[in-house]
Symmetry: D2
């Protein structure tokens, strides 16, 4: 059984800040958002977590391995180096979906995302170090079968982008509603999802759904571990197996087997 | 009439590089992708262009104002500072969609995105400085009506994300197929699109389509200018008008009126 | 004859900011300073200027090619993305030394570096585009003869560092007092100086002075151009000539010859 | 008694890389060096270490708290994101000077800094976690007394810079030769030194030496801790005491008293 620790990172009062006293230059907002995200990647990745850019003003991370002090250090570092600050809510549950609901509640209880007085909230439920196991996190890494041959080298770049975007929108919604999973587009033709302990049939089912709904063909590698990095690296290797074997779903063997 | 100059930026041989000799750490790939994008924002923004992260290994930019030498300097700078290099195809047309088809063709003609021997291609059609006008670029800036009150402060962060994602997927496909426009999610609840000279009815029509298909309510500010920055800043101000007036579509007056 | 345009970039109210409400983490200050400097390198370099980290809270740049609008854009971009803002004074003169005195005066006249009310000053004398020539900037690029064989591979890293530091301190002071030049350590064993139109004997004299005073042996390549980049690249190539020919001073031929 | 763990970080084969196939643009080298340093600040700072830019191609860090695995992760991350790689030698000793000699030897034994075949060396002596104490690291934080009133607001920026540079050159050499300490300019008018267990008279002696030799008046705060961050933050607070009390040397009390 999985136990996923999810952190929701939310920039404090960002909407108003971007238009006060006047709308700020778009390229500067994009630069700030991207570099803040990159910093979080390094800081959260240091302890083997994963963070996804999501909406940039709200970012979702799988933080098994990071305790409260780790979160506080990241908050302080951002406050020292950026013109904005962040609030963080943490939740832990067998279901990634539930963990995120709990994480969001920590922030919503404290105040609005656009409340100028609500800054640098930090709270929620950290999975204690002594309770961690190698089964805690399940990561699924999807990509489009032969995207280069089917799309990138053949149709224009926006047609390719539409296909990937429709595929992602269908997958992320289905995996959330049917399987309590949180899926994120991570660039190229790749989607990474944090899942509860799903088995092969669930993945085949999701892949069929996407093929049927938007005619985009996916394959997936699945991994398990005590952290997002461990599970995610196993998933990447499993995905390489899909490429070599021509299969749609590959999973690294775990103790649950 | 618009004349949009579009540049397609594509990382050379990226797929193979990310898994050679073995799959690289995911957080490092995310960091590299985000920082490369941030650098392009600053470099392209310097000349008043806009660039969108799109798929990160393929990025689309509105580059009215950047000539071939400007593109070359960016390519050289990236080659000096990153472990990867980029190829760039440029297209110019009244239709952003056609401009991108032309830009993509420059790269596809030169070779595959995963051809290790195809690096740092640069070619295509730059809009000559002497032919530029203040009507060249039309930018539309969409956001979700009262996203904070409707979603962010009320439902969990992934439910909010799904709504925005479904809204974006519906909008980007419709605007492309019906109106030859290129739309990009830019964070928060914001979508920026490069359009041909569309009038208010086209925008009301697109907004209705999205409301009907996925039940997400958008508003839009539209601007025009000789560059993406000029048009985009006018669009941001027009969007503020939507907020103040409670309207769905606002457009800054231009010479076409 | 040279005409050097110098810009002094000063972070507003930085001293107080670093200790309010309490001293901030040193590694965060170092990160902020270094990344701000890196951004200036790209922004100023875009127009073929050079910027030197100097003291990080005060940075000196050779900005031939950047007009007032270019400076304003850089200031705005920094204000949008950092928790601090910068003031900029500009001076233009045949003597780099005098140009910097003038640039400094622009800021000192406006108010103290630690005056919380003095922010984002921008003023001074820009060299008009129509008056620029290919003789405007002289750059000298020094390095230590065979530093790797003499120091890096033989003595410990701090002994090497002391030698380079003493060499730089002696050179920068001499070139300033005797030849009105501004010299900057740029990493490795390299020093780059902005000089008035000096001839070979002046450089041989400076090199002898440093050998005599601190027993560090330098070689130098000298270049001329309308911008720091043009002059600096010519200087780099001239320095390669020193390596190949075993000479101490090499200069690319110019119109002044 | 102190036990300082020092890591020497050296970019592999950097000299040749910067001029192959031709000299690379100076602003790009500066950007790469500064951002690499900034990343190391965050990565080493995460475990409460300090890193100093030193020569940028050779950087010295106080790494008490980082084990071999921590060093490996940093190396891998850099290799994934930069066009260069780094080698790291580690030394631990009561004397910072000796620790650095040992760290340098690890690299020199493996091969030349400009040997294309020598890459990503990692070795040396890590201070075991079980042997760490709160007396291990002594950090001294110097600055110039009233630099803003004496220099920054009164003389031109290069005159100020020369004074600080001469002061630093005199201090770093004296502290190394007389007191086995490693001193680094960190921006502004600040110098941070890693010292063995020095007492107040040693600091008063160093300050007198600098006043006498180059007429620059320093004050210093001294701190002790199990890590560079702990000792350094104590030193910053002690330096604030100098400002309040008008004293030259302040030290936070420790178990050695």
């Amino acid at each position: 059984m999985t136990t996923t620790q999810i952190t929701l990172v939310q920039i404090d009062n960002y909407g108003p800040w971007t238009v006060t006293p006047e709308p700020r230059r778009e390229v500067d907002l994009q630069t700030l958002q991207s570099r803040l995200y990159a910093d979080l990647c390094q800081q959260i990745g240091r302890e083997d977590g994963y963070v996804f850019f999501t909406r940039f003003d709200n970012m979702i991370a799988v933080t098994n391995g990071l305790d409260r002090a780790d979160h506080e250090l990241i908050q302080e570092s951002i406050d020292n180096r950026y013109p904005v600050s962040v609030s963080m809510g943490i939740g832990s549950d067998a279901s990634p979906r539930t963990a995120l609901v709990d994480a969001t509640e920590v922030l919503q209880t404290a105040g609005s995302a656009q409340d100028g007085a609500r800054t640098e909230i930090l709270g929620g439920e950290v999975l204690p170090e002594g309770e961690r196991t190698t089964e805690d996190v399940q990561i699924a890494h999807f990509d489009v079968i032969d995207v280069t041959g089917t799309y990138t080298d053949r149709v224009d770049a926006f047609e390719t982008f539409i296909a990937i975007e429709q595929g992602y929108a269908a997958l992320m919604r289905y995996l959330y509603e049917e399987h309590d999973s949180l899926s994120f587009f991570v660039g190229g033709d790749n989607v990474i999802a944090a899942c509860p302990g799903l088995s092969e049939p669930s993945y085949e089912d999701a892949i069929s759904h996407v093929s049927g709904e938007v005619d985009v063909d996916l394959q997936v590698g699945v991994g398990r571990g005590s952290s997002a990095h461990d599970a995610g690296m196993a998933a990447k290797h499993a995905l390489e197996e899909c490429r070599h074997n021509g299969t749609r779903v590959e999973r690294t063997a775990t103790a649950d087997d």
